[in-house]
């Protein structure tokens, strides 16, 4: 279980509070107007923003003191998820061996995960030679290789068209179901939340609200969400 206990983030006169938990294996959408702090919340969980107060625990362990790379999570950013000067294999290899000293076993794992995301045989290409969707698949494949129990997605597919984005989200769902990963997805698009998430968190007015079942949230939107949706 991921628990945010009396979490507070401050940046200048901006504050964001959160006090809730998500069960392991859950898929959670984080929605809200831009500038409300969705990404900020994700960056705090990932360790790129210091907490002003509170704790973040995973399976009962406080992770707030850990360096970003040591936390039990993988994160996909909005962009720059791959090193453009390295091949697909090298990009994936960095998820396995930080020195990029790849053993035969590593290579087998990489080939395996590439076929898992539908990119068999593309290991020698560089990110620039791939489409946006394919780049997203490589980033996802690296997260798969790192096999961390938490997966944080900061709108990594926002630049893709609707059909491609839906396809990627389905792939994430598939992978997360297989591995039992807990997924947090930041999005500004209600359709993503409906398609993907068991539960949805609304971030608005300086607060990340309690997660609720996605269907319920949209059937009976709280005032802040109704304003955002324009309904």
């Amino acid at each position: 279980m991921l628990m945010l206990e009396d979490l507070r983030i401050t940046k200048g006169d901006f504050t964001l509070d959160a006090n809730w938990s998500v069960a392991a294996g859950m898929r959670l959408a984080i929605i809200g107007p831009s500038g409300a702090g969705k990404s900020t919340l994700l960056m705090a969980i990932a360790g790129f923003i210091q907490l002003a107060a509170g704790r973040i625990t995973w399976a009962g362990q406080d992770i707030a003191a850990l360096a970003p790379g040591d936390r039990p999570l993988s994160i996909l950013f909005q962009d720059q998820n791959l090193f453009p000067h390295l091949t697909v294999t090298q990009n994936l290899g960095l998820g396995l061996s930080p020195r990029l000293a790849l053993t035969a076993d590593h290579r087998a794992q990489i080939a395996d995960v590439l076929s898992r995301v539908g990119l068999s045989g593309m290991g020698l290409r560089k990110p620039g030679d791939l489409s946006g969707g394919q780049q997203g698949r490589v980033a996802l494949a690296r997260a798969l290789l790192r096999a961390r129990p938490l997966l944080l997605l900061d709108e990594p597919f926002a630049a893709l068209g609707p059909a491609l984005k839906a396809e990627m989200l389905d792939l994430v769902t598939e992978v997360a179901t297989d591995t039992g990963a807990t997924v947090l997805l930041v999005t500004h698009d209600p359709a993503d939340a409906k398609r993907f998430a068991d539960q949805t968190v609304l971030v608005a007015d300086g607060k990340a609200h309690q997660p609720r079942l996605t269907a319920q949230v949209f059937a009976d939107p709280p005032a802040a969400l109704a304003t955002y949706l324009g309904s």
Partner: protein, 520 residues
């Protein structure tokens, strides 16, 4: 980085160590100079040297900038075959060793040069290149291209839409000048002039070869003479302190008023085109570009013609000189590059960033002869400095080159951290992997360019080495200068040709190495 807020990492530590070394090099030598200068006063010759230094720098800056305006304008509004090659070539004089350029200028304007041969044939009196105007001529040769590039940048910073709007309103060239170009020039010209003024203040090799005598001695040259011929340490120290004050003032002024010009590409953007240019403008543009090209190319072409035969009869001293120059340049480049990378990495990490950056820019206020004098004052009670000529030269050149390397690589280092720092942290790249797989691969192109620049400048440098070298520490440029001093002009031209070939080859090799097989 967010996670390392508490402790000071190895990178920051090494950055601070490098900054401290720079402080010792720049301010330690200054302290040594000031301590020794205490009792010495100005004599009339020193006052003359100061006046000459400032005057020649001012005139050189003014002439370079004024002559550059028509050339830059012609390049900004003309599209012709070879335009981008010409703009690239404008970067080359920066790499031409001073002694080589001086020999080239002598081939045109010297006693035996084509100009005087022509004048004499016509029955007119010959002109002499030595003295004030010779020094200025050489400075314009080096700095005209720099000025053209800076001013061209100003022209290209005017949005093309403005020119389009101008032509749609039926602007004549005079209207464009008034509404678009003159405001830009008012902003760009003072800065360009100030940069060139600063560069010319610490002119040594030009003054050594074309100046001299009581009426054409720069402060740098006076330091050299005081130390080398009179062995008057007090006077050398006093002059060094003066030179420090001059340079520091000019650097502070230019840091305050000048947007420093980039060395990078982007200037070969296509020309701005607008209608309504009459025949007169097209003619004047052609003349400006033609004359400037002739002025820059002719000296080097004549030097090549003169030096080629001598290539088959090079003095034996040339081979050890090549080896010495390459070793000095190699060590100097390695030192500067490693120091600059570590310093830049520490600056990017953000701790003490302002102070570290300041230390990295400090050598801009120093000059070769001043650092050399300071080191001499510090070292000579303990060792025979002549025996340390090459190590001292290497150290001084490495110090002076550091700000350039830092300026070239720092923007890229910042961009690497901004674009990929979080990704690298999120997948837990070790610091080894960061350097090996992220920073060095992405830094390769600017690094190749910067190392090429430093190596070429170091190979061509005739500064502090002239101060100390006996018969054993002779580098290529010093060999050229000594051959010139012995009036062995053919041999000097031959060695100069070797020198410029070696330094261009090294630049090209390193720069190409940075770009070879590079991507994204």
């Amino acid at each position: 980085m967010a996670n390392s807020a508490g402790k000071i990492g190895a990178i920051t530590t090494s950055g601070v160590a490098i900054a401290a070394a720079l402080l010792v090099m720049c301010l330690g030598t200054l302290a040594a100079v000031l301590l020794r200068a205490g009792d010495a006063g100005f004599d009339p010759a020193d006052a003359a040297a100061i006046r000459f230094t400032v005057a020649q720098a001012a005139v050189s800056a003014l002439l370079s900038v004024l002559l550059a305006v028509p050339v830059a304008r012609a390049l900004a509004r003309r599209q012709f075959a070879g335009r981008s090659v010409l703009i690239t070539l404008l970067g080359a004089p920066f790499l031409v060793p001073v002694v080589v350029a001086v020999l080239g200028l002598l081939a045109v304007f010297g006693r035996q040069g084509v100009l005087n041969t022509g004048l004499v044939t016509l029955g007119l009196p010959a002109v002499s290149i030595y003295g004030f105007h010779g020094v200025v001529l050489a400075h314009v040769f080096f700095n005209l291209p720099l000025a053209v590039r800076m001013i061209l940048q100003g022209w290209q910073a005017i949005p093309a839409e403005r020119f389009r709007l101008g032509s749609s309103l039926g602007f004549a060239p005079s209207d464009i000048l008034r509404h678009l170009e003159r405001p830009m020039l008012r902003e760009v010209l003072p800065g360009a002039a100030l940069v060139i003024f600063t560069l010319c203040l610490s002119s040594f090799a030009v003054a050594l070869t074309l100046g001299g005598g009581p009426r054409a001695t720069t402060v740098e040259l006076a330091i050299y003479q005081a130390l080398r011929f009179d062995f008057d340490l007090g006077r050398a120290a006093m002059l060094s302190a003066t030179q420090y004050a001059l340079c520091a003032t000019a650097v502070l002024l230019s840091l305050r008023f000048v947007q420093t010009p980039g060395f990078g590409a982007g200037l070969d953007r296509t020309a701005i085109t607008w209608g309504g240019l009459g025949r007169w403008h097209r003619l004047s543009d052609g003349v400006a570009i033609g004359l400037a090209s002739l002025f820059l190319i002719l000296p080097l072409a004549l030097l090549a013609a003169r030096g080629l035969p001598a290539l088959f009869d090079l003095p034996a001293a040339v081979w050890p000189a090549i080896a010495r120059s390459l070793i000095v340049a190699g060590v100097c480049t390695a030192l500067t590059t490693i120091a600059a990378i570590l310093l830049a990495a520490a600056i990017v990490q953000g701790r003490f960033a302002k102070m570290l950056e300041f230390a990295g820019m400090l050598p801009l206020a120093a000059s070769g002869l001043v650092l050399g004098t300071g080191l001499f004052l510090i070292l000579h009670p303990w060792v025979a400095v002549e025996r340390l000529t090459l190590p001292v030269t290497t150290l001084v050149n490495a110090t002076l080159a550091l700000p350039f390397v830092l300026r070239i690589i720092l923007p890229t280092m910042r961009k690497i951290e901004a674009d990929f720092g979080r990704l690298a942290t999120s997948i837990n790249l070790s610091s080894f992997a960061r350097w090996r797989w992220l920073i060095l691969p992405r830094l390769r192109a600017p690094l190749g360019f910067a190392t090429g620049l430093v190596a070429a400048l170091s190979i061509g440098d005739l500064g502090v080495v002239a101060l100390f070298a006996g018969d054993r520490g002779v580098t290529l440029p010093l060999l050229v200068q000594r051959l010139m001093g012995a009036y062995r002009m053919e041999a000097a031209a031959g060695v100069a040709l070797v020198l410029i070939s070696v330094s261009f080859a090294v630049f090209w090799l390193l720069d190409w190495g940075g770009r070879w097989n590079a991507d994204a």
